[in-house]
């Protein structure tokens, strides 16, 4: 059975042709280091073996675009404290359940008796609030600009419908500040970026113009099918070989250059920027996360309940921070595949399906020799 929107981007022959084109376009002896920003791209790269189609000179490093992975332990502790509050039903996405806090996960807290429920969308959490008017329902919101519009619409709906027992603990983060932090970091020398496709459906491609303008690096917003990723790599390498640095959009079938104005408007109404926010592995980054605006303060769970708000250092053995910055590959972490597995994860990168460590582990990807050009 053929599947429109899928088969067009999984053609093996075209994949091999793109691979050959990439091979012919690189300068022998030059090393190219490209970062795929989004965890969805990391997943595609290892699921489809895209790195095997590239010469060794073209290195892909993983970026900070997995929202579960960048969540610091202190925020998990804050969520658990909220879940243990009297009369609270605490809701979150399924992939948050096993993310370790300093002592336990949401799954552990649920086993201890906290009423923690997995939801597919924030609207499900709002429905639970309407069905349980004598309980307080908290939605633990995470995600980049891809997911933030869904939370914003739900909060707008809760306010319009006057649902008094619905609250949001907002952990939404934004993609541009960590990219700027990475570009300013002396740890990493990058030649270009595979831009985040789904975030760009909301914010558009324009917010990435600072990358070529301020840093002279190309970025190509890309889709998630194998040919999308290969074509975007080819487009980045073409820019490099021609001495260009621009924002290009490979994912034009979904991403308008200006993004989604309706989504941006609802986000602007419901959220405002936090002065700073802690990212796992990257530390505190200014104006990199969202909180509820004053107009929605009555729905803000962090104003309704006090939380510990303590900064917690990552476990010493865990090197998620280095993985998230692209400084090391997952298999180079001391605990990868031994003490840290998807079943018993120490770090967030092994918990989330979009995490680089989980992608490597689940698809059996380890360091291998490849052709040097």
């Amino acid at each position: 059975m053929s599947m429109k929107f899928v088969d067009e981007y999984r053609d093996a022959e075209l994949g091999r042709a793109l691979s050959a084109k990439i091979l012919s376009s690189i300068v022998p002896g030059r090393h190219y280091k490209l970062m795929e920003v989004c965890g969805g791209h990391t997943h595609s790269i290892y699921k489809y073996g895209i790195d095997d189609l590239l010469p060794e000179n073209v290195e892909l490093v993983h970026g900070p675009g997995c929202p579960v992975c960048v969540m610091p332990m202190g925020r998990i502790d804050d969520g658990i404290a909220m879940a243990h509050e009297e009369n609270v039903i605490f809701t979150c996405f399924g992939d948050m359940m096993r993310v370790p806090g300093s002592e336990k996960t949401f799954t552990d807290a649920k086993a201890e008796g906290a009423d923690i429920r997995m939801v597919y969308s924030p609207l499900d959490a709002l429905r639970i609030a309407k069905e349980n008017p004598d309980r307080d329902v908290v939605f633990f919101a995470i995600g980049f600009e891809t997911t933030a519009p869904s939370t914003a619409l739900t909060l707008k709906r809760a306010k319009a419908e006057g649902v008094p027992n619905f609250f949001c603990m907002c952990n939404h983060v934004t993609i541009v500040p960590p990219l700027r932090a990475l570009l300013d970091s002396p740890d990493l020398r990058l030649d270009g970026f595979i831009g985040p496709g789904h975030v760009s459906t909301v914010v558009g491609a324009r917010p990435f113009e600072f990358i070529p303008a301020d840093y002279g690096k190309p970025i190509v917003v890309a889709g998630f099918e194998p040919l999308d990723v290969l074509q975007s790599i080819d487009m980045i390498l073409a820019q490099l070989s021609e001495g260009r640095a621009e924002v290009e959009n490979q994912y034009g079938r979904v991403v308008p250059y200006e993004g989604n104005p309706a989504a941006l408007n609802v986000m602007a109404e419901v959220f405002e920027l936090r002065p700073h926010f802690e990212w796992r592995g990257l530390g505190f980054i200014s104006q990199s996360a969202l909180k509820l605006s004053e107009a929605y303060a009555d729905l803000d769970a962090e104003r309704r309940w006090e939380v510990p708000g303590v900064r917690v250092a990552d476990p010493k053995a865990c090197q998620c921070g280095e993985v998230l910055k692209g400084v090391i590959k997952p298999w180079e972490c001391k605990v990868f595949g031994s003490a840290c597995t998807p079943e018993h994860a120490i770090g967030t990168c092994m918990v989330s399906p979009e995490g680089a460590c989980a992608a490597y582990y689940n698809y059996g990807r380890f360091a291998r020799e490849r052709e040097v050009v």
Partner: protein
């Protein structure tokens, strides 16, 4: 996901995924929507329309 049916009053659509799974999707951010449209859905909310696939060439 492909739009199968629309509830205009509540700005919801019944959408079907690749595997035949069906869910109710918030469509307020991608209006106008018509039956048969293909939408990109995140956390129960449609955030973009998908245009016809483009041919990738090497």
């Amino acid at each position: 996901m492909r739009v199968k049916r629309i509830d205009s009053d509540r700005e919801l659509a019944l959408c079907e995924g690749e595997g035949g799974d069906r869910i109710s999707v918030e469509i307020a951010l991608v209006q106008p929507v018509a039956e048969g449209d293909v939408l990109l859905v995140h956390a129960g909310t449609a955030i973009a329309h998908a245009a016809e696939p483009e041919r990738v060439s090497a």
